[in-house]
Every structure is written in C-alpha cells, then in structure tokens.
Point group: C2
Chain length 287, copies 2
C-alpha cells in the first residue's frame, strides 16, 4: 500500500460521488487523495491554499456547451492545463435500499441533470422534480433520509459510494452527452505526447483582427478545435478569445505560428499544451 | 387613444416587470401590448401560436456573456432579427410598503441577480439569500406577502408595477452591466439604417476552415463584432458559429463577401440585418 504522502491530492468541484470524481478516477485511477471543493472558486484556489497538488475542472459539455465559470477562472489564476479527460454523462435514478420506481413521487437533482432527463419525466408525469445544488449530494440525501417516495438522479459512483439502489439506468435524453475536464497544475510542463494547445488572447478591436490571429495557424495547416469568446468585465462588448488547437509546442510550425501571433498582439497567454483526451469508454454507453 | 387591434403585441420572457419588459419599453415605447412568456420555448413560439407579433429575446449580458438558450432557439426557429436594444441592468432592493432595510432578514431573487450583488451581501452578512425563478416574480411575492423582513432584488419597473418600496438602489457590483436583446419577427426586412448583420454557419472540420470563413469579411475591412460557438447536438465537439458583423446587406462589399462565404459552405443562414443598438441612457447609471 502506498502511503498518503505519496498519493497526489486532486481537487474537484462537488461532493464525493460527483461526475467530477468519476473524471478524476478515469484520468488518474483510484490511487489519489480526493479533495472535494464546494465552489469553483475553492477549486481554483485549492492548490495555492496548499490543499491539493492538482485540480480537475469541467470545461465543456457536448450538449450544454462551455462552462463559463471555468473559462473565467482560468484567466484569473496562473494555472496550466497539463491533461484533459472526457467522460460520458449517464444519469441513474437512485433510491434508498427499500425503494422501487413505482413508489417514487419526487426526484431531486441538479437542474441541469433534471433538464437532461425530460423523456423520463414525460413518461412519469406524476413525479415531481426538485432542484438541488449537486447531483451527488442529492443521492446522499435520498439514501440518508431513507424515504422510499424520494429518489435522486446521479452517477453510478454516487450510488455505490452512498449505498443507493439504482432504480433505472440511462435516464439521459441524449446518449451523446459527454463532459470534458482539464487538469490544472502550477507547473508548466509539456508531455512528449502533447498534441493539443490551449491559449487565450485579446485582440485590438479592428476589422480583420480575429482572421489575422487565426491566419498563422491556418497557413500552417494547424487545426483549430474550438474557439470560445468571453466578455471582458468592465468593457462591454469586448472579448477574450480562447483557442484550442491541434498542436504541440514541440512542433516548430507551432512555435513559429505562436511567434507570429505574438507580434500581432502582446496579449497572448499559453494555458497549456497537453495530450488530447482519447475517448476511452469506461462503461457501455448505450440506451 | 389607439385601439388594441393596432398596438403591436410583443412577447418577452418573464413576468410583468422583468428586465425584458424594460427592454421592450426602451425599444418600442409604452404603446404596445405586452405578452409575458413563462419560458424561452414559449417566447420563441409566441408568434407561431398567434399570441404575439414580435418577440424580444435576451442574447448577451456584458458580464455573464451569451445567453445560450437564445442562441440555440434561434437555430431551431425560423425567425429574423430586425432590431436590437441594450439596457443597463440596475438592481434595486425592494420591500413592501412598511419595510425598511434594517428589518430585512432575507432577500429573494433570481440566482444571477443575487450573484451580481455580492458586495451588498458582504456588507449585510446576516441577510439570507433565497433563489427564485424570476426577479419580477420575487418583487410581486414580497409585496403581496407584505412581510417586512423579506425583500426582493429587481427592476425599478417591477417596484412601480407591484407597489414595492425601493429600500436601496444600485446593488449591482459592477456598473458596466448591460443586457442586449434582439427583436424577432417572421418577416425578413432590412431597414435602410441597418448596420449590423447576424449569421450562423457550420464549417467542415478541417484546418483553417474558420480562418477561411472570416477572410471574405476581413479582406473587405468588415468588422467582426462577436463570434459565438455552440455545440451541435449529437455531434460532440462540433460547433455552429454565430457571427455578428458591422455590415449591411445594402452594401455591395457585404453581399459579395456573403457570396464568397456561401461558396465555401452551404450551411450559412442569415439571422438578420438591423440597426445596431445605440446605447441610449434611460436612467443615470452611476453608483
């Protein structure tokens, strides 16, 4: 057995059993010390507060889109992305030990989870929905109160952790429901296998500025995987642009494209260069 | 007095007194028939259901960013943007007639409004926050229950409409807090004064695709005002791009840039060409 001291401490947002915890397990295995953080702010300060070595933040869901809070906090903190992971979001209806689907009259979960299970609620119109702050906390609450009329929507991991009974699997309306997370550290290191690069930049507001900023990559055949714009606080209708590129700083084409970009704008920050997530399937993901 | 039949019926999301209603008033004046819609879905179907002539949808806040729901619904419905308006978001603490700030122990409002008044809650740490669905509904509720320990955060318009007492003005943390709304109709018409163009497009996933799509505008010195990407449902990590350009279809440079874009991708849809909002100040907006 490895001693506590050598296990990396990984911060994630939510309670034990959250989807973020599943993402930690998929990326780093089970031999880590889990550091649950109540808020995104606490997640982003967990390393500087000495509570964690690395932090895993959700950055994008394939249905809901970008997680704005993570994008904004990336800018406020000096952390680097050194890995990413994608997990399928599968929703389970979880009750306490003696419950059955027929007896359930109310289901609680995070509003986003409830909204992703519309077809279930349409099939059971008498079941009331109760919005809560956290999927995993809802599972814990349902198991603890032991009321067979109540169930929660959450992860399989939460059901196992809190001793809940899975009453139905795959409540999600859309099977192509994935969340991507980024692993944040204080050290800028680029793995030899890195093939994805994230940066944030600010452009002068003039015609063609964004086209010019993308051109150094386009001309070198470097693929833009994602662009996200976020408002600059205090400067209405001005934006930071976040780019994800299929690129590595080990590649000379990429470093010269970055140089060219930096000659255009002084406001470029590399957020990280890391191996893109391979979509490994940890559980069969079919309805 | 103008008869009901000739007044345009304008749908907006929220209850009477919502910020959206303020936006309707600023854009179209008071001589309209207001059609409150409970949900964004109802807002976008109000015209086809014969309940409204036009619909006003919030599309962007200068602090929180894009309103994803509006972007996604623009794609699902065949409506055109024919105007936009920007209003300042100023938060007021509103109690019932006999209340005073000293007696307030709980404040209710929409979570976004509560989150934009952090400095107020920091100054009054004993006041409890209660999240609700709607700012205006919170004001109505507080006035109706007539409990002097309860207050709501909402618009001046809501206070006037429901007979609430403004206990404090400008609770918002950031004064540069504006929301932009778009007016939607079924008819594609372009005013002679139109100077802003919105379109949505889908690109082949290949290196340089976005740079190439922006190039026809950049080369012609046409300013890109905003770019927004939204995930395509069922196709993880593929996106629709929404562009706002400083451009009019009355301008030949613009029509030839659009032709050039359409030769690259068949998946371009014009969302509207309309006069950009001038930031008219309806109330002094200083703390």
């Amino acid at each position: 057995m490895i001693s506590e001291a050598t296990r990396p401490r990984i911060a994630f947002q939510g309670e034990r059993g959250a989807f973020s915890e599943e993402a930690v397990a998929q990326l780093l295995g089970e031999d880590v010390e889990l550091v649950p953080c109540r808020t995104f702010e606490m997640l982003f300060t967990a390393i500087s507060r000495g509570e964690a070595d690395q932090a895993l933040a959700p950055i994008e869901n394939s249905l809901a889109g970008s997680v704005h809070r993570t994008y904004d906090l990336l800018l406020e903190h000096s952390l680097y992305i050194n890995a990413e992971v994608v997990i399928p979001i599968t929703h389970n209806l979880i009750g306490c030990a003696d419950s059955s689907l027929d007896g359930v009259t109310a289901v609680e979960s995070h509003p986003v989870a409830l909204a992703q299970c519309e077809s279930f609620f349409a099939a059971y119109p008498k079941i009331k929905r109760i919005a809560t702050d956290d999927t995993a906390a809802s599972v814990r609450h349902v198991v603890e109160t032991c009321d067979p009329t109540r169930a929660a929507i959450g992860s399989r991991r939460a059901a196992q952790l809190y001793g809940g009974l899975i009453l139905r699997e795959h409540l999600e309306d859309h099977s192509e429901n994935y969340t991507r997370f980024v692993l944040l550290t204080t050290m800028e290191e680029t793995a030899a296998t890195a093939d994805k690069l994230s940066l944030v930049l600010r452009l002068a507001h003039q015609p063609g500025a964004l086209a010019r900023a993308l051109d150094p990559f386009a001309r070198r055949n470097i693929d833009l995987l994602k662009i996200e714009s976020r408002p600059i606080r205090g400067e209405p209708w001005q934006y930071h642009f976040y780019l994800d590129l299929h690129a590595s700083t080990h590649d000379e084409r990429v470093t010269s494209a970055l140089c060219e970009l930096e000659r255009q704008t002084t406001d470029v920050r590399l957020l990280g260069c890391y191996p893109a997530a391979r979509r490994s399937v940890i559980e069969t993901h079919h309805k």
